[in-house]
Symmetry: C2
Subunit: 239 residues, 2 copies
DNA sequence: ATTTTGTAAATTGTTTACAATCTACAACAA
DNA sequence: TTGTTGTAGATTGTAAACAATTTACAAAAT
């Protein structure tokens, strides 16, 4: 049988099995559960329990733990165990600062490299944000927001930037999920910012797109801070 | 015996043993060898061989591989093995773009938060760069350069930024080590840029420090590109 | 009462053994 | 020659067994 033909025919069926070992399965499943807050921050992850739950032995689970540790989603303590990472307020602030810088670059690059279809997709997302804003569905807005920014990050066409961005956002989610942040976010205002960002991107205005995205992230941080320090005196922003 | 006293007395002796498992030992040792180019890019890392070399079994080595994979230093292929990551020219360019953005933020924050002692240390490093520049020691310059930028990254006092920065730089080293880049770097010119950066930081000029650092990184990228495309037509810069 | 000490159980760290897959290469066929 | 097939060896994937450490808690001492 022709080798090339065989390969073409079966590749798409075999690929999932070829690529995914028990380690990556465990890793992705745990990552999903952590980011979705199914396993909340601070939780101790028991090797044997997780191995049993996933139907594998401890080896692959341990390897997945190491990867998640490097990704910043869990904290590994020798002889003590691994814990879903907890992100403090000051640390979250650090994350926002870095994210703002990365989003600035995303805006600049996306304004240069985005294609028409992606702009259309962004418009669809923003439209859904409008539709959902009055029905007060913070969770769906949160998901749309993630989709919006991830699409933008991909449109920047810089794989290093994309993975750095996702790394930061994933860790930031550890904090946002633990708070009321995404319900405290001013949805109508945030949606307006998204619209302005798409406009700048579509116009190919690198500088403006970068500035708007950076400002958007810093505004999110400010909204989060305001929501967390309700009646007390605000600490003056340092930046 | 008083518990607090005992803890204080022995902690510093025990700490290294408490903290480091065979996994982290293997991880750090491999990381060192990869970044120092002792193990060059593209090399296949054999589990059994490395385990034997380090005097441990395959388990800890496999776990270290997963962490290094997440850090971007190795590529893990199921049933094939792990390989020291190779960074292409276009990928390196992506790394420089991200690094430039991160260094911009580092400059801004360091200008606000650096302390006198750190400025003094920066001056010492720059002085050493001057001294060594005429003796053509590219390797020592390379080391000083790493020290300079890492100190600056620490002075920014943002742990997220620091680890993102180090992550990018480590991976970038995979590329720079594989090329003649650091000998092609125009050392006197680069040193002048470092001086200007320290001046701006010391003056507390956030904007200028950020701009100079971003420009410094992009200039490094340009120098690298120029060195790699010697006589042929230069591809016009996209940014 | 508070602290210390000791012991058993639970949990993690590491090694070893076995199964599955890939690689190299020889033998064979077209 | 060129390509296929098959087998042996090497290598990786997974599981299980064993060792070391921590944790929980009861008993004893101050």
């Amino acid at each position: 049988m022709n080798n090339l033909l065989k390969k073409k025919l079966l590749t798409h069926l075999i690929e999932p099995l070829r690529q995914h070992s028990l380690v990556t399965l465990a890793q992705h499943e745990l990552e999903r559960r952590i980011i979705s807050d199914e396993i909340p921050a601070g939780t101790k992850l028991n090797e044997a329990d997780i191995a049993a739950a996933l139907g594998v032995s401890r080896g692959p689970v341990r390897e997945a733990f190491r990867a998640l540790g490097q990704a910043g989603l869990v904290r590994v303590e020798k002889n003590r165990g691994v814990f879903v990472r907890e992100v403090s307020l000051t640390e979250a602030s650090d994350f926002y600062e870095v994210r703002a810088a990365l989003e600035g670059l995303i805006g600049k690059l996306a304004a240069q490299r985005i294609v028409a279809d992606e702009i259309a997709q962004l418009r669809v997302i923003v439209k859904k944000m409008h539709a959902g804003s009055r029905s007060r569905k913070a969770d769906t807005y949160f998901a749309l927001n993630v989709e919006f920014h991830d699409l933008l990050a991909r449109a920047a066409r810089n794989s290093v930037l994309l993975s750095s961005y996702r790394n930061v956002v994933n860790q930031l989610d550890l904090y946002r999920r633990a708070t009321i942040s995404h319900s405290a976010d001013n949805i109508p205002l945030s949606t307006k910012e998204h619209e302005a960002i798409v406009d700048a991107i579509e116009a190919g205005d690198q500088v403006r797109a970068g500035e708007l995205l950076t400002a958007h992230v810093l505004a999110s941080r400010a909204r989060l801070r305001a929501a967390l320090a309700p009646a007390s005196q605000q600490t003056p922003a340092k930046t």
